[in-house]
């Protein structure tokens, strides 16, 4: 493989070829030519500004990934025959929350996985550093995702960034897609059945949510940053500490700790909801 074929331009243009496959020849040709021109101008301008090629490559890759959801919906609108502006805009506004829905699912799954691995004795009995670490990592990631979703309403850019980080652990389980194939093949080859399928689905959902949140972060309008923002640090921390304490209490059988933790979590959630609502 030549050095040139490893450039991000190749990846982007292959992607354009893929999502325009089967569309009307003129539409396909125009989109390919336009993206090809854009990337060429980008590279040319950056070189003129003395930007390092690696920085330009990262920027091109970022623009590509952040535009993937729009590419997919653009293709869908062409396939469904909604070529007019009104229909495309209706679709845009109707489905713009898809990644938030997937992120909420991921947050629940992540928190569940964190609590479950902490409480189960299937792999290792008792409480140990690994289990506590898993609870903190996964529970924290799940809560970060939920907080990001709440925060996204008042500060789209920062909220989306929190979601990107929050869904990462589950997205990485599937190796951002590739690992899912390897995991499934390996589990089948070892006679372990289809257990990887739910894990793969969760990971794929998390990856899709992550791409959507990344796109929302990348494309967020600067004007939105001036909107009123809720102060979520204290209530969010209360919620996090409460859930962790409740999980630890249940895991160790210390019911008073579990009840206190649950109460703290409920209070934190109440404050969080109130602040987000008042800011919205």
């Amino acid at each position: 493989m030549s050095h040139r074929s490893l450039r991000p331009e190749t990846l982007v243009l292959h992607w354009v070829g893929l999502y325009t496959l089967g569309l009307e020849a003129g539409t396909r040709r125009d989109r390919q030519a336009e993206i090809s021109s854009d990337i060429w101008e980008h590279r040319d301008y950056a070189a003129g500004e003395g930007e390092r090629p690696i920085a330009t490559s990262i920027s091109i890759l970022g623009r590509w990934m952040a535009g993937v959801p729009a590419d997919v919906s653009w293709r869908a609108s062409h396939l469904l025959g909604s070529h007019n502006e009104k229909e495309q805009t209706m679709a845009y506004t109707k489905f713009r929350y898809w990644w938030q829905f997937l992120a909420a699912l991921t947050a629940v799954a992540t928190t569940y996985l964190g609590v479950r691995q902490f409480m189960t004795d299937e792999v290792e009995a008792g409480i140990n550093a690994g289990k506590i670490g898993g609870l903190v990592l996964l529970g924290g990631a799940g809560l970060l995702t939920l907080m990001g979703l709440a925060y996204h309403r008042s500060n789209p850019r920062r909220g989306a960034a929190m979601v990107v980080v929050g869904v990462l652990p589950v997205a990485l389980i599937g190796g951002l897609g590739l690992g899912n194939i390897v995991g499934l093949v390996s589990s089948l080859a070892n006679g372990e059945g289809w257990w990887w399928v739910p894990v793969g689905i969760a990971s794929a959902v998390a990856t899709a949510a992550g791409v959507g949140a990344f796109s929302a972060w990348w494309n967020a309008s600067p004007a939105a940053a001036h909107e009123k923002r809720p102060k979520v640090l204290v209530p969010g921390s209360l919620l996090l500490v409460g859930i962790l304490a409740a999980g630890a209490g249940v895991g160790t059988g210390l019911i008073p700790v579990a009840v206190t933790g649950a109460l703290i979590a409920v209070i934190g959630l109440g404050f969080l909801t109130r602040r987000v609502r008042s800011a919205a």
């Binding site: 989109r31 040319d44 535009g67 729009a70 502006e85 805009t89 494309n219 309008s221």
Partner: protein
């Protein structure tokens, strides 16, 4: 969520604003990367707008009659050793719609847009 008649999405507003700003500085036409760069330069975008988002929005604006486009002559691009550019320009309707949106939003938005025009 339904889009109210006469309103435009934030990215569409950013494109029209940047397009008119370019016109004021002497470039009546712009290609995709140029508008993405200008939107970033004047603070209408945090960074260069993503490919998919940008070209989808340009397509919507053109379909709505707010932008017009043309492909440049292939010979010119060939002579300069680069791919052909698709040039866009803000139409009269696009200008009027943006002005109406800004006027509807109030004095803060008007100041923002007036400030852009003077860049």
């Amino acid at each position: 969520m339904k889009r109210k008649p006469g309103t435009i999405l934030p990215i569409e507003e950013a494109i029209l604003t940047a397009g008119l700003d370019l016109r004021q500085s002497g470039s009546s036409e712009f290609h995709g990367f140029a508008i993405a760069r200008h939107m970033e330069a004047i603070g209408e975008a945090h960074q260069l707008t993503a490919h998919g988002t940008l070209y989808k929005a340009l397509g919507r604006l053109e379909a709505a009659g707010l932008l017009e486009s043309r492909w440049e002559e292939a010979e010119l691009a060939l002579a300069e050793g680069r791919p052909r550019r698709r040039f866009y320009r803000v139409s009269g309707l696009g200008e009027r719609v943006l002005a109406a949106v800004v006027a509807k939003r109030g004095p803060v938005a008007r100041r923002r847009h007036t400030g852009l025009a003077s860049l």
